[in-house]
Amino acid sequence: MLAMMAFVLRRLLWLAPVLFFVAVVTFLLMHAVPGGPWDSSGRPVSSTLERQLDAKYGLDEPLWRQFLTFSGNAIQGDLGISFQLQGRSVSGIIVDGLGVTAVLGLFALVFAVVVGVSLGVLAALKQNTLVDYLSVTFATLGASTPSFVLGILLIVVFGVQLGWLPVFGWEQKWWLLPDPRQAILPTITLGMLPAAYLARVTRAAVVEVLQQDYVRTAEAKGLRERSILMRHVARNASIPILTVAGPLAASLVTGSFIVETVFGIPGIGKQFVTSVFQRDYGVIMGVTLFYAAVIVVANLMVDMMYSVVDPRIRT
């Protein structure tokens, strides 16, 4: 336990150099992008005004000093203000976007776990039957259809041809929750890839456990099928499934920006794409750093999961 805590602590300390590295590279890249924040707002800005704006926001200083200022403020939790949205702070924009992205990601995760795990278990229990083939086909199709392709195909069928569901937007009706009809297509679009992946992993895991000696022993003892499944199969098959859950959850956060763009959802990913176009430096930095932190923490959870479920793996 102590070793575990030391491991977690060491990995969390690692977060600091990672964020620093990501911040430096992003900062340099973003300032290397041609153009500045003032020439994308639609109305041309005179060079005098541009100089005044640069001076006001510190953009006339040398890059290293700008970076130091940014880092100093960021450590205190202040990511600065948006250059494009009047009077909005970057943190505020990120928190708003995150509320949307997190809800969408959670929906997609639930969809992926329910669909993926049940299909995988079903396929494993009914190996080499029609059910199995259908589920494997679903997993293959889902794994190689890019999210934006699937999203648009769903829009064409359910939004345009059948006209059942809205194809655009995400209005928060109850606190963070949107109109359920608006959420259906984006949830399926984002959740399909992890669902397909989970179905594959689950099927493989359950098939492997079913072949183990202890399952045969349990059957020989005359245990009911139900209790074999719950006690022996479910517990052991959940190990590989749990270990892939971490990266899947992270991919739902970092991969959502395509889905957000397709469906016009104002999440954090869409904010990033907009901010790159508009050279909104603070938002670019904030979102990239946030994503990097998500990736590091997700990887940490995966490694912890490995050593918890399989004590033979030393951290």
Partner: protein, 304 residues
């Protein structure tokens, strides 16, 4: 498959008979795999179409046939109709294959050139080099990849690169995507380093470089080929997603992602415009995934 037998021949000099039969067994397993063969046929046809796009395509992909008009349905002249600016959809689809295949394959070649030296140096260069390179790899791994590609793409926008935005995209994808491959190379080499035949080669006086290139590299090829094959659909996905968002390959070049984007704008008028390129992307990615699955099963030592 020629690549595999070639490396087999070039690499396994000592136990030649056994080595050849190992690769031959893999080849036989691969040939028996129906899905992998299907994928191979699809990819081969796509490559032919892409190479001979100028001959196969009925029209210039960028020519505007305004006599026919925009967003027209299929006709004898335009088998899949015309898009929003009167261009022939079928010809654009055919030329789009060029972009997707180039990005998919060239990015993996570039990744190999970045990852192989880094991974090998980390495995063979002693603890300090290993630590430095692997920490650098960890740092790069934490970078959100699509975001980094978008930023790199914007940075390189005004730089004169031969090949234009196609090369910029390939470069951006490779600069972000080499990390997992480098880790794999390192892991492979570290485990091969302990094998008897490597020790034997050293004992008879082979130098570090020779051992790495002649004895270890060919033997780490299997998993490397598999992971690079799986990288192809990922790169195709990245390019088409970026072109769809509008930060990919610059118009008017015909790309599948760009076609999905422009078709999406007219989705209520002509929904099929979006469906053609969407299906093309999905089928291509699936074909490469089948090949990757087949290669993995054929080369996996556990099934031997």
């Amino acid at each position: 498959m020629a690549g595999i037998t070639q490396t087999a021949r070039a690499g396994w000099l000592e136990p030649a008979e056994e080595a050849r039969s190992l690769w031959r067994q893999a080849l036989r397993r691969m040939l028996r795999n129906r899905l992998a063969m299907l994928g191979l046929i699809v990819v081969a046809s796509l490559v032919l179409v892409a190479v001979f796009a100028d001959v196969v395509a009925p029209h210039d992909p960028n020519a505007q046939d305004c006599a026919t008009g925009a967003l027209r349905g299929p006709s004898a002249e335009h088998l899949l109709g015309t898009d929003g600016t009167c261009r022939d959809v079928l010809s654009r689809l055919i030329h789009g294959a060029r972009v997707s295949l180039s990005v998919g394959i060239l990015s993996q070649v570039a990744i190999l050139f970045i990852a192989l030296p880094i991974g090998a140096a980390a495995a063979m260069g002693g603890r300090l080099v290993d630590n430095l390179l692997m920490r650098f790899t960890d740092l790069t791994y934490a970078f959100p990849d699509l975001l980094a590609i978008i930023l790199l793409r914007q940075v390189l926008e005004d730089v004169e690169v031969p090949g234009g935005s196609l090369m910029v995209i390939i470069l951006a994808i490779s600069l972000v995507g080499w990390v997992t491959v480098a880790r794999l190379v390192r892991g492979q080499m570290l485990s091969l380093k302990e094998r008897e035949y490597v020790a034997a080669a050293r004992a008879v006086g082979a130098g570090g470089t020779r051992v790495t290139l002649v004895h270890m590299l060919p033997n780490s090829m299997g998993p490397l080929i598999v992971v690079l094959t799986f990288g192809v659909p990922l790169a195709i996905f990245a390019e088409s997603a970026l072109s769809f968002i509008g930060v990919g390959i610059a118009p008017p070049t015909a790309t599948w992602g760009g076609m999905v984007d422009s078709g999406y704008r007219a989705v209520f008028a002509t929904p099929m415009l979006v469906v053609y390129p969407a299906v093309a992307i999905a089928v291509t990615m699936m074909a490469f995934t089948f090949i990757g699955d087949g290669l993995r099963d054929a080369l996996d030592p556990r099934t031997r």
